[in-house]
């Protein structure tokens, strides 16, 4: 038995990232000095998660118009909905305040002559965000949140349809952590690494999304019995080739359009794309444009940076250094001067995210951020139905969640639940399962290279999962095409892995145990993805999921697809939930 650490918190926050830190800060403001706030973080809070490399822009800021206009933009960018407009509005209403708070916390904002923030496009502002994460973490520290670094949460504890805490293991100390929360917030990011990345071997994590976000938010919500939404909307990044760095810096900074090998700025010129909105078409359509041009043998596709001002290149490189320094190195190593040659772009491995141009996540009640499991709150990428929140929106969303939790604590007399020793023992056994599995299976013999004769490493299982998803669930090499016969195979294999193969999953050490739990969680997310895509028998977001068996949009599916997992049958039961329009107007147009 591992040494046990018991943690009790009024507000238990699982994940010290963009949303979690700000939730702690706002919970302190709303809940007062006596509130006990705990953040459990699997890495080190000052440098963890999506923000660890920095960011050069905040992509959600109301530079002009009203918050409603942003909601209409987000709706438009998701091909006209469905999105949770109530949630989006709540974020848009406060996002500018949040940015101000972060500026006061030391975040360097670029400014125009008149002192206003330097915008980049309609809804973006430029920043020097290489220390974005330390600055964000400082807010949690300022809020006197108790921070537990290097603790990997493996499962939520649910009792009587309410979440009463969570358990996990210390990545460094190997201790078993048992956390009880009067309310619990899960904000542990989205899911990368479900599909096979384009680069292999020593570059296989050279991908767009943060590779250490393994979908634990979704998997734990699912296992806790929460209602989940929109897992069929996966985000396909079309980014600079090989490094998968963002392209907004190029398209706006260098005025660079996407061009095919014939030199055509196809999004602007081809009527097929113009009908969707041309070069400012919704994100899934721009991904679709890239795919369609390549499949039609008009690839490779580039960002044509050669028409821009060469004097801007240095500035562009500077911006990348704040966010994705590898691109600058890549250009240096490969003799690329973007003012002289166009920058090649490529589609990367799909990702399941909730706050970027995707909207998978847990379904929440109203704008409370409380899931269908009582006292369990979500935010950031874990929150479903509300795309295009990005960093500033996730900060804001975190604040709203923190406030909502503090208010719920005031309104209700929640108390710590008693944990039956048998339950805790069972959870511990499950948490350390792969580690103990290794010890057990090592006795059955090792090959000469030191690997197990009768076990599977987390890496091997991840490779298998990625192969299945790649080949049967529309990976990059399959041009993101999906149809039911393929899905049936994917479904079968994912099920087999989850139900039969996990018994062989072995972890040699605590780092391996972390990788093992990553793959366990990813498999749960794969199951959600396969079932959701299968259920939505239409093609609404063509660049993301192109169903070759249902290539058109179908009005019957103009709604959310939600699901619940049945632990008895291991079935994910999908159902439709109507979309509610709050901001009036044509859903396929932006209001400004």
């Amino acid at each position: 038995m591992a040494e046990r650490v018991y943690i009790d918190a009024d507000v238990l926050i699982l994940g010290g990232g963009t949303a979690g830190c700000m939730a702690a800060w706002e919970a302190r403001r709303t809940g007062g000095e006596d509130l006990k706030i705990v953040i459990v973080e699997k890495a080190f809070i000052r440098h963890s998660g999506c923000l660890s490399a920095g960011m050069n822009a905040l992509n959600m800021y109301i530079n002009q118009g009203k918050p409603e206009d942003y909601v209409s933009y987000a709706r438009y960018d998701m091909c006209g909905a469905p999105i949770r407009e109530d949630i989006m509005l709540s974020v848009a209403n406060e996002v500018n305040d949040t940015v101000k708070i972060m500026e006061e916390s030391g975040l360097p904002m670029k400014k125009k002559e008149d002192g206003r923030y330097l915008n980049r496009g309609k809804w973006n502002i430029e920043i020097n965000g290489s220390l974005l994460k330390p600055i964000t973490a400082a807010k949690a520290i300022e809020a006197r949140a108790e921070i537990y670094n290097r603790v990997y949460i493996t499962d939520l504890i649910v009792k009587d349809d309410a979440c009463i805490g969570a358990v996990g293991f210390g990545v460094r100390d190997g201790k078993f952590y048992i956390c009880r929360g009067k309310v619990t917030m899960l904000c542990a990011g989205g899911a990368a690494g479900l599909w096979r990345p384009n680069n292999h071997g020593d570059a296989h994590h050279r991908i767009w999304y943060f590779p250490f976000n393994a979908g634990s938010s979704y998997a734990m919500c699912k296992r806790a019995g929460a209602e989940m939404t929109t897992f069929e909307v996966r985000f396909v990044p079309v980014r600079t080739k090989d490094t998968y760095s963002p392209t907004g810096t190029l398209s706006i900074g260098m005025g660079a359009p996407m061009v095919n090998s014939l030199g055509q700025a196809f999004m602007k010129e081809d009527p097929h794309y113009v009908q969707w909105g041309g070069h400012t078409a919704p994100t899934p359509i721009r991904a679709y444009g890239f795919q369609r041009e390549t499949i039609a043998h008009r690839g490779p596709v580039f960002m044509d940076t050669t028409k821009g001002d060469p004097a801007k290149v240095t500035g562009i490189k500077g911006q990348y250094l704040d966010m994705s320094p590898s691109l600058v190195l890549y250009w240096g190593c490969n003799d690329i001067d973007p003012s002289k040659e166009p920058v090649e772009i490529d589609g990367g491995d799909p990702n399941i995210v909730g706050a970027h141009a995707g909207m998978a996540g847990a379904w929440t009640r109203g704008t409370s951020r409380e899931t269908t499991v009582g006292r369990l709150y979500v935010s950031g990428d874990a929150l479903g139905g509300a795309p295009s929140r990005f960093i500033s929106g996730s900060w804001t969303c975190g604040r709203i969640t923190g406030r909502s939790m503090a208010q719920a604590l005031k309104a209700n007399s929640y108390d710590y639940a008693d944990l039956e020793p048998a339950l805790v023992d069972a959870l511990e056994e499950r948490t350390f399962g792969p580690l103990n599995n290794y010890l057990g299976r090592a006795k059955e013999g090792l090959w000469t290279d030191g690997t197990l004769m009768s076990g599977i490493s987390p890496k091997q299982m991840e490779d298998r999962m990625q192969k299945i998803m790649e080949e049967y669930c529309g990976g990059r090499t399959r041009w993101y095409f999906i149809s039911e016969p393929y899905l049936n195979i994917a479904r079968r294999h994912i099920k087999r892995m989850r139900n039969d193969q996990l018994q062989y999953l072995c972890a040699r050490d605590l780092h391996d145990l972390q990788l093992a739990w990553d793959v366990i969680n990813r498999l749960d997310v794969c199951q959600l993805v396969v079932e959701h895509i299968s259920f939505r028998k239409e093609t609404r977001f063509p660049g993301y999921v192109l169903r070759t068996d249902y290539p058109e949009a179908d009005p019957d599916y103009d709604c959310f697809i939600n699901s619940k997992w049945d632990p008895e049958t291991d079935e994910v039961v999908c159902f439709k939930v109507p979309y509610e329009q709050i901001v009036p107007g044509d859903r396929r147009k932006e209001t400004i």
């Binding site: 440098h47 290489s130 220390l131 990545v171 020593d202 994590h205 250094l321 240096g332």
Partner: protein, 114 residues
């Protein structure tokens, strides 16, 4: 971009069990070689090249290189972290040097006069 630590500069953060790079790595990848007492990346392919370790290293012992499968030798990109700025030196494959001084934090006096 797997981080590589220069053995002549890395002092394992003075023989502590957990050097700073290990402390900060978001992917739990940096670790200390028990024999040499120097830091290294345990799984280069798992690195996302966020460069947190490279920037955090108190001795600037960690450099980053791109994987050969995507980039030619011997380009370099080296950050030098100051109090409120980070300075990047990019040395491309032909030895051409470009430098970038980027602001990282606003100090209370940043908006002051000349």
């Amino acid at each position: 971009m797997p981080p590589k630590a220069d053995p002549t500069k890395c002092d394992g953060c003075q023989g502590e069990s957990e050097p700073l790079c290990e402390q900060v790595c978001p992917g739990n990848l940096m670790t200390l070689d028990k024999e040499t007492r120097k830091a290294y990346c345990r799984e280069p392919g798992d690195c996302w090249d966020c460069m947190t370790c490279t920037k955090a290293c108190p001795r600037q012992a960690i450099q980053t290189t791109l994987q050969y499968q995507i980039a030619y030798f011997p380009g370099k990109l080296i950050p030098l972290v100051g109090t409120n700025s980070v300075t990047w030196t990019s040395i491309d494959c032909h030895g051409r040097v470009e430098r970038f001084v980027m602001k990282t934090l606003v100090s209370p006096d940043d908006e002051d006069e000349d």
